[in-house]
């Protein structure tokens, strides 16, 4: 696995597994690939599993916000799960924990779509 793997769960639901560092050098490519996946596979509800993300700069946060916007336009939802404590702390600093629905596990996040 490099920085991104996607799993289409059917019925417009999917999981994106992110890994490594999400900084300006890689975020643009991640955003492009995920947007293409969402449009091509007609995804409405997406879980970002960040279990393997060890480091995230503001470029990574911009990707999450862009995804949230795109999914909202499709009347869908974005859920985030498995944040490492260091990354979670930065979400708190930017006060993004109030913007995103954050879950402890991928299973919980998928279940929340209903």
């Amino acid at each position: 696995m490099q920085h991104l793997e996607v799993k289409n769960l059917g019925n417009g639901k999917a999981v994106a597994l992110l890994a490594g560092r999400l900084d300006v050098a890689i975020s643009g490519e991640i955003e492009e690939k995920l947007m293409e996946f969402i449009d091509k596979e007609d995804i409405h509800n997406l879980v970002l599993n960040m279990d393997q993300v060890e480091y995230m700069s503001s470029s990574g946060f911009r990707v999450a916000i862009a995804l949230l916007r795109r999914l909202k336009d499709k009347n869908g939802l974005l859920k985030i799960c498995n944040l490492r404590p260091a990354v979670r702390r930065i979400f708190d600093v930017i006060e993004l924990t109030t913007l995103f629905e954050i879950y402890d596990s991928e299973e919980e996040a998928i279940k929340s779509f209903g």
């Binding site: 560092r21 900084d23 300006v24 050098a25 480091y55 700069s57 503001s58 470029s59 946060f61 911009r62 916000i65 949230l68 916007r69 909202k72 260091a86 702390r89 930065i90 600093v93 930017i94 006060e95 913007l99």
Partner: protein
Amino acid sequence: MAIQMIRETFGVDIQEIPRIKVFLEKNLVQWGVRENDLYDILLACDEAATNIVMHAYRHADEAKKNSDSIMLTVKKKRNVVEVILKDEGESFDPDSTPAPDMKLNLAGLRKGGFGVYLMKSLMNRIRYRCQDGRNITVMLKVLSS
């Protein structure tokens, strides 16, 4: 107590940002900087360097980007780490950047504003000045651990 200091120059390119992080992390760990302090300094420096590449050199041609560099100096004295970034791009004062607005970001009307906000939130002090055609950004972190 002696001051510990490192200095390195990096290219004006977003692909240099991970190199800056690796260089900084290796040296800060050797100096005993750990956990949240380490993460905060790495992230603040990442954001400052990203701003240089994305904003100070936004209008620069390839020749200028290729010939210029970002000079990074890091000092540690007792429990204070000082990070200094110098570049010769357009002046870019972090204080002139408005705080991030979530509503505008969500509406797609403004992208970002998070980088400078993070720098200010994670470090104890940020100072910027333009001197002899050089941008100088100085960030201070008082270590907690």
